[in-house]
């Protein structure tokens, strides 16, 4: 059920992490395979959905090639035959964020998770999510201010 209803979100987040939709698709499928195999290990210590999101995030991070640069998305990211979008001034700034900040942003915007779910997915305190997202916003805001006209 979760797989069917949230699949587009999983794939979108994994694409953001890996930078390549084919790689992302593989990562999502592998993550769910891990979840199915390890379902008995789920002890109900947190929300099931967060457990699954964690698996997807980890699989996507593992699948990411060392040479990956988020600023240069693979053409495979195009959808429905559209051309990949050109990088904007924010693209390198987001790529330059610390990984936890970037993941928190992705989980917030691509997965549409609330702070509690992000905290459970990243295994951090609720307050840490708030602080992390705030730091990301501050960093981006500062960087944007420094961009010359």
């Amino acid at each position: 059920m979760l797989y069917r209803t949230r699949f587009p979100h999983f794939l979108r987040l994994a694409t953001a992490v890996t930078g390549d939709r084919d790689t992302a698709l593989e990562a999502v499928q592998d993550a769910f395979a891990d979840v199915v195999r390890g379902r008995r290990a789920f002890r109900g210590e947190g929300p099931l959905e967060a457990w699954v999101w964690r698996a997807v995030v980890n699989a996507a991070r593992k699948a990411r090639t060392p040479a990956f640069q988020p600023t240069a998305l693979d053409p495979a990211t195009r959808t429905n035959g559209s051309e990949p979008a050109p990088p904007s001034e924010l693209t390198p700034l987001i790529a330059a964020l610390p990984e936890r900040q970037r993941l928190a942003l992705f989980l917030r915007y691509y997965a549409d998770l609330d702070y509690r779910s992000i905290a459970a997915t990243l295994d951090v305190e609720l307050g840490t999510v708030s602080a992390t997202l705030s730091s990301a916003h501050t960093a981006l805001r500062r960087a944007l201010r420094e961009v010359p006209e």
Binding site: D30, G46, Y109
Partner: protein
């Protein structure tokens, strides 16, 4: 300052546009997980056909249940039990629904399940599903004043229950034999018929109901059962049920007898689930409420709610309607009180909105979570309800809430914007309502209906001590019984409507303890007063005052219909001694702090 959030959203939307769900391939996941064996075992004959059908259905909300497993109630989860109800009955049902306070999430299409003629009356059981609510409606003709009876349970109950039958209502009385009690000495009402009904599992072959007079079979058809005990003798109640499957082995189906605190004739249960709080959380808050964030829906314009509901319920300007399960009709109104922000803090009001009405009160925000992160209430609306509604607020630390039944079964409790509303099968009490934080640690436990230890319960027989007739509206009977911890318990019975109960310990030092019980048409005030309270002034918002004298320390009063309107409702009760001195006052509509 640059508002960076829209820029981030725009950038992320642009870089990774939404993807299509058609890339989803569950079969590939299973193969990667090394789970092909399960498919091979199932790939034969009719079973394989079922799998194909199930996969096709899985794309629909209805079929989603199959992916999770439908348990024993597939005729409801994926089928269409019974036959379509007559158009006239459908219209009657919809017209009745227009007067309710809550809309069903989807237009319910009534299905006729069972029809029977018993003792000169006809009983027709209908059923329907709407979103996550699965409901049965019993319509009785031939007994004066016998209104339809509606009961609902949540989808997850049908998905997860392994019982052969799930009673929805039991011991629902229709009509009465002889005259109604008029004095304390009169015996309680005896119904002309007692009806019990519920859902039946696919494999149920026979369901028998056990009463004080013996065992008799229920009608079993179309995924439901109906039992009518015609002209029961005084003191005869349905106590439990036995269900049999193909093996003819009997399984006990617990039934809550509404006139007692504990389920009777069923299972000796004890509280299950986590018993220890792993992280102490006290003094929590509700951030969105404090910040006045517009969560949920506004009160004004919410479907079905009277636009000036706020005037009746001591509400201030900030009021939001929260629906924890968007596919159910239960909602909660969370609001500031009309006291506004006081130097000593503010009050949070919470009112549960069911189809039949609105009930709740206000409490100081500071005290709401002073004992833990859950502030819950529980109760039922309507006679013979087997599923009680547990509802309330959870502080910000709560990430999820689970219900552990006395049978060891576990159920999820919908939680959204700090509001929890869940229906719990009362015959499986005691139930532990457990709150977890984001890291899965237990941070709060509320136990409901424990046999011993935490809370008083009535023991021995109930006696009718006071009666009051609303005009218009139902007859109210105030019953009293001894309390298991000393003192006494009161039960207000609104005949053919609902019942509510409170126990007052002998050690209680409060001079006045009143409660309100309302239906759509009438309201009653009832409770206890200390021996030195000679009279109680009931003050209304429009300035009107009524004086009521307690009888043997008890009070029951039907609020006049002119005070059942916004701007005219009851606000405060003032207790006075024989000399007219004020003893205490109680703000009505506010509930005591936990």
């Amino acid at each position: 300052m640059i508002d960076v959030e829209p820029l981030i959203r725009e950038e992320l939307e642009r870089r990774v546009p939404p993807t299509e769900p058609d890339l989803a391939d569950w079969g590939s996941v299973l193969r990667r997980a090394g789970e092909p064996g399960r498919r091979r075992r199932l790939r034969s004959g009719a079973v394989a056909l079922l799998i194909v059908a199930a996969l096709a259905l899985a794309a629909s909300p209805l079929g989603g249940a199959i992916v999770r497993g439908v348990g024993g109630f597939s005729s409801w989860l994926v089928g269409e039990p019974g036959k379509p109800a007559a158009e006239t009955e459908q219209q009657r049902f919809e017209q009745a629904g227009e007067r309710s306070w809550a809309d069903f999430p989807e237009r319910p299409a009534l299905r006729e399940l069972i029809h029977a003629e018993v003792g000169g009356a006809t009983y027709t059981l209908y059923g329907f599903r709407s979103g996550n609510a699965f409901c049965l409606r019993l319509v009785v003709l031939g007994i004066r004043g016998a209104g339809p009876q509606l009961g609902c349970l949540p989808r997850h109950e049908l998905e997860q229950s392994r019982d052969l039958a799930i009673p929805l209502k039991a011991n629902v009385g229709f009509g009465h034999v002889g005259r109604l009690p008029r004095t304390i000495a009169d015996p309680p009402t005896v119904s002309r018929a007692l009806a019990s009904f519920g859902f039946a599992a696919d494999s149920a072959r026979r369901i028998e109901l056990v009463s004080d007079d013996g065992t008799s079979p229920a009608l079993l058809a179309s995924g439901a059962f109906l039992h009518v005990l015609d002209r029961p003798s005084r003191g005869t109640w349905i106590r439990s049920a036995l269900a049999r499957d193909e093996s003819r082995r009997a399984h006990v189906v617990p039934i809550l007898l509404a006139t007692q605190e504990q389920p009777s004739g069923s299972l000796p249960l004890s509280a299950k689930g986590p018993a220890r709080v792993e992280r102490q959380v006290r003094g929590g808050t509700i951030g969105w409420f404090t910040q006045r964030e517009p969560r949920g829906a506004p009160l004004e314009g919410s479907p079905r709610l009277p636009p000036r509901l706020g005037a009746c319920c001591l509400l201030g300007a900030f009021a939001r309607v929260i629906q924890p399960d968007a596919r159910d009709f239960l909602r909660m109104l969370v609001a500031e009180s009309d006291l506004g922000r006081q130097p000593e803090g503010e009050e949070i009001c919470r009112y549960l909105i069911t189809r039949g009405g609105v009930g709740g009160g206000c409490a100081p925000a500071k005290q709401l979570f002073s004992r833990g992160p859950l502030a819950l209430s529980w109760g039922f609306s309507g006679v013979g309800q087997q599923f009680w509604i547990v509802s309330g607020l959870a502080s910000d630390e709560v990430a999820r809430v689970e219900v552990f039944l006395g049978t060891g079964e576990q159920r999820p409790a919908p939680l959204r914007d700090n509001v929890v509303i869940v229906r719990v099968q009362a015959a499986k009490f005691p139930a532990r309502i457990v709150a977890y934080d984001a890291r899965g640690r237990v941070i709060g436990i509320e136990t409901i209906g424990a046999q011993r230890g935490d809370g008083a319960r009535p023991v021995g027989a109930w006696r009718v001590v006071l009666r009051a007739q609303a005009n218009p509206g139902p007859l109210a009977l105030l019953h009293v019984a001894r309390s298991s911890v000393g003192g006494r318990c009161l039960q207000l019975e609104l005949v053919d409507h609902s019942a509510s109960r409170r126990c007052y310990p002998a050690s209680s030092r409060r001079p006045l303890e009143l409660s309100q019980q309302s239906t759509r048409r009438a309201a009653f005030v009832y409770g206890r007063a200390a021996a030195d309270v000679a009279s109680v002034e009931l003050r209304y918002r429009d300035g009107d005052v009524e004086t009521v004298k307690p009888v043997r320390g008890l009070l029951l009063h039907a609020v006049p219909s002119r005070h059942a309107r916004d701007g005219h409702r009851l606000t405060i009760a003032v207790a006075r001694d024989a000399e007219g001195n004020e003893v205490t006052r109680q703000r009505l509509g506010s509930q005591p702090a936990p």
